[in-house]
Amino acid sequence: MNEFFAKNRLSSYIDGALSPRDNREMDLVILENLAVRTAHAEMVRAVELVGSEGRITPPEGLIDEIVSAHQDRPPSMSRMGIFIRLSLFVIVVCLGVGAYYYARGGGERVVDISAQRDRFIEELVDVSVSVAEPEAVTVPELVSGEATDPESEPEIQTVAPVVSLSPNTGPVSLAPSRPQEIGPQAELDLTSTNEWEEIFEGSGRGTVPSRYRFYAVNSGSLIQIASLARGAGGSLVSQNGVAFETFRMSTERNFSNFVARIPSESVASFLGELQLLGSLSVVPSDGVLLSPNGQVELGVQVQYSP
């Protein structure tokens, strides 16, 4: 083996990576060739130097520093973990936004009920609205009484019912005995009604229910009332006396006041049918307002549920 090949094999010779035959040849060359022997000595010296002097002891505290850095921070996630957590986050955010808008009722939303009203009216126009007379109540026959102030209120008279029920007899239900057979309301969505509230206004000798607050959950309830009033031969007017028109109801201004003008002979049936929509109890007494055309005026306030 010549000097060139021997020097090239020194590294493998030191590592013991040569075959036994090549190893023996290298032993001979190192003994006989001074240059190879010198190169071998220098290489062994360098390798031993790196092995013995190369290692440097890490500074104290470096281990603690590295370990504590991982104890103080949350563990990282795999790609799948990141994807799952991100997906959950998006779902939670969507649910939160949805819940917010659901609770808020969609914000300042204006409900146009004209189309809905027309549909209801078309459905109800051919349906008889005759209601069985409540057995427990004699329909009050209203007659004109003495006007309290004919000049200031020329169009409205205070009347006292000819047949009046004594307030002492307690609330008398105007509900028909077979409510499910009465009127087209039975086919309406009564779930829109959840509560009636009577506003008793002190008048004359007793307490007269002349105004009613109707809690409704949607505009369909208002249309129901309008239909009932029309079926009873009456109409709805706004508080300033203008004929009732389909109006736009805002969920921000969640109530609407109007007046139901009902012929006196239909008051009982109208109230009875209204009662079917909720839990109305009527205690007729004196002090019912009568409009000039002989119709009774009932103040009704429709209010959406908060």
Partner: protein
């Protein structure tokens, strides 16, 4: 919590320690760092000539190893890439060190004790040779990686590893001898 292993028990493989770390055993991570830190720090320091850089590299590499290897459930290191007798974690660790050091390069400022003669000579000699030579010599003669390990870490064939290691040793021995001769003269 009972770890089931002793910190000085070298019979416990890296992979066993990693499994313990994944179950929340913080002592296992300390043991793993303790096992590899001298090599990682020494390699970084000798490569750069700076203890500060060595410590910085050690922090960075263990951080990276924790995130991308220990914590990552879907990491797969084939047996071909696992270092013989050391396991896949060593392979991952030394590859990370090598990649980071090759980016850093040797530092102009060296804070290894210059007053220590042999250490100073060694450091000067190491700094005088090429980066790829310095890397393979340190991995082989300081960290003790086998030729197969070097092939895995450096991404070379075994023939290329032998050739590069031979040339690196020749270059280093020349530099060491030169400095020893100068020291004798002076």
């Amino acid at each position: 919590m009972k770890t089931g292993v002793n910190a000085t028990d070298s019979a416990v493989s890296d992979e066993a320690l990693i499994e313990l770390i994944r179950t929340g055993n913080s002592r296992a991570f300390r043991m793993l760092v303790q096992r590899h830190l001298p090599s990682v720090f020494g390699l970084g320091t000798r490569w750069s000539g700076s203890k500060k850089t060595g410590a910085q590299v050690a922090r960075s590499v263990f951080n990276q190893a924790y995130d991308s290897y220990i914590e990552s459930v879907d990491n797969v290191v084939s047996d071909d890439l696992a270092l013989g007798g050391r396991g896949a974690f060593s392979s991952h660790l030394y590859r990370a060190v090598a990649e980071e050091l090759l980016v850093i390069g040797a530092q102009s400022f060296q804070d290894i004790d210059p007053n220590h003669r042999s250490t100073g000579q060694l450091q000067e000699a190491l700094s005088a040779i090429e980066d790829q030579f310095r890397m393979i010599v340190l991995l082989r003669d300081m960290c003790g990686l086998t030729l197969r390990d070097l092939s895995v870490v450096l991404g070379l064939t075994k023939g290329a590893v032998r050739s590069r290691l031979s040339r690196a040793r020749v270059a280093l021995s020349r530099e060491v001898s030169l400095r020893a001769s100068l020291a004798d003269v002076l």
